[in-house]
Structure formats: C-alpha cells, structure tokens
Symmetry: C2
C-alpha cells in the first residue's frame, strides 16, 4: 500500500486513538505500532529522532517524514475531505475548538483519568482543580451542543473527533457525563 502511514501510539490514549479513527474515516491505510506512554519508550534515542518532543502519537508518512501532535495529524489527514469545513469562518471555528481541546479539556480530563485509572492514585491525592476544570470544560461542550449538533460548521468535523477522544473516557476520570450542566463549578452536583 503506497499510501500507508505508520502510527506510533498508545491504545489507552485518546490523542493516539483519534489519529487512527481519522485515518480510518478518510480511508487512509495505517499500521499501528504500540509505544507505551509513561514506559520510558518515548525517551529512547530512536524515538526521539522521530519526535524530539518525546510524545505520542507520531505518524510516519510513506516518504519517511514524521508528523506529531494529534490535532495537527488530524488536520493533515483530513485536508480536502468533508471533515474540514469549506467555509473560512467555520474552518476557523474548527481550529478554535481543537486548540481549546488541547489547552482546556485534555489537561484536566485526560490527566485526571490517567492518574485515577492508570496510575491508581487515590482520589484524595489528586489535584482537586482537575475535577473543577474538567467539569467546566464539559459544561462548555454541553452548552455548545445544546445549540448545534456539531462543534463547527454544518457537519461532523475534526473538532468533533478531537473532542470525542477524551470525553468518551471521562468516566474513567471520575467525571459524570450525564447532565454535566447540573454540576457546579466546585465539581459537585447542584441537585
């Protein structure tokens, strides 16, 4: 398969899975290579030669060039497909939600999930601000999806894939997904 890409990723990572989902959706053949986050594997010199930032996911293109950062890979794979709105403003809104996801969603929801369900840190030793900030992010998402079916544009876009990744795993981080809007800023349900 001359267009086959290699995805170096961890199957427990939403950031890695979203790359695989996008490749599948746009019909791009891919080969998955497991690289376990937190195992030291991303500090291996061979891996650092691919991604000096020592993070997964990374993809290797058929010509051998590498590309990192999950949402950058999504945009790369999806360019020219219906996953990217053709309207300039709607495309920018898609970028807005994707940057917001990496800055204001993943650092609380994915991190609390990792600490709680994979590092098995007792809940009372986890930074309480992660729950507050994660619930704030979920509330912002719920408000948006109360207005429209999709985060940006008239249909399914890269923004929806990006935000799905860790939202679907939020329960493993102790977040209550049902009616997130009734959870106050202190992380407690308001009724």
């Amino acid at each position: 398969m001359p267009d086959r890409i290699k995805i170096f990723g961890d199957q427990r990572s939403g950031n890695c899975l979203k790359v695989k989902w996008t490749a599948d959706f746009v019909g791009r053949t891919s080969e998955w290579i497991d690289v376990l986050a937190g195992s030291g594997a991303t500090q291996d010199p061979a891996f650092l030669a691919i991604n000096p930032a020592a993070q997964v996911p990374v993809v290797i293109l058929p010509d051998g060039r590498a590309l990192a950062q999950s949402n950058a890979i999504l945009l790369f794979l999806a360019e020219g497909t219906k996953l990217v709105p053709s309207d300039h403003y709607e495309r920018a809104r898609m970028w807005e939600w994707m940057f917001w996801e990496q800055y204001s969603h993943e650092p609380s929801i994915a991190v609390r999930r990792w600490q709680l369900s994979y590092l098995n840190i007792p809940v009372d030793q986890i930074d309480p601000s992660l729950l507050v900030r994660g619930n704030r992010a979920l509330t912002i998402m719920e408000a948006r999806l109360g207005q429209t079916n999709w985060f940006a544009g008239a249909g399914f876009s890269c923004a929806d894939i990006a935000l799905l990744a860790y939202t679907r795993m939020a329960g493993e981080g102790g977040f209550v997904l049902i009616r997130a809007s009734v959870i106050g800023s202190n992380g407690q349900r308001v009724f």
Copy 2:
C-alpha cells in the same frame, strides 16, 4: 474600514499580542479593546456571550461573529498569505508546532512568568516542575533552530509568531534564554 476586526485582549498576554502582530503583518486593520486577564472581566455575562470559554484573546469580525483561541485566530488571519506554507506537509508541521506551543510551551513558560512577575508569588512557592518543563521546551526549540531558520517550511510562518510570543517574555518567568541547551533537566545550568 469595512474589514476592521476588534481584538479583545490583555496587553501583558503573549497570546493576545500574537493576534495583534499577525493582524498587522497581514495588513488587517484592527481595534484593540483591553480586557484584563485575572480581573474577573472575562466572567462578565457580556464577555461570556462572546466567548463562553472566558478567555482572551477573542476577535470580532466585521459581520459580528466571534473567534477565540489565539492560534486559531492566527490561522484565520493568515490564510492565503505567505505566513502559511503552501506545501501540505510543511503546513502540517506549522500546525504541529502551534499545537505543541499551546500544550508544552505556554502552560509552563507563560504560567511561571505570570506567577513570578505579575502575581508576585515568591519563587520558592512556585511549582518547580514549571521551570523543568519550560526549559525542556526551550531546549526543543533551540535544537530545531539549530537545524533551520524557521520552525516550519522555508520561511516565517504562524508557527514562528506563536512561539515568539512567550519565548520573548521567558526572562520574566525566570528562564535563561542564552544557551538554554546547557540547562539540565533539573533546571540548573550544567556548567
């Protein structure tokens, strides 16, 4: 000026300034409206109606629509200009550096700068991991700029603007910019 945009921003914020710099560079007329971060102004209902994420910068387009997230605004303003590489892979590398900036650079360098120089928190009360992670980010940048003059593509792009924003202010966060590569992972100079 029918194409004039409004920029709601804080002049102390690299994220806000990079939007202004990009507007200026591409010749887009803009009006700056001060919104002080940390003042509660972003929690005002009128502001939340513009950006439910309660963050600056936000721009208002001539037709009244809003757009948030600094790097999404950069991509919006720069589309079709020489700030965006025409090659698909180089454009993706630009996105890669821009997502990396928001995930791995800003949360350590900008946050430590804010705490040290604006909140006046004593240095021994600041999370020591901010210095370690910020120096790691600076080291990755230096390695890249040892190979090429620009982060992505053959010339100046949005990635350079995004990374300039807080790097130029890193000194206010206690980071030593000269020869960052000789600073070890513990944040101390290695000679």
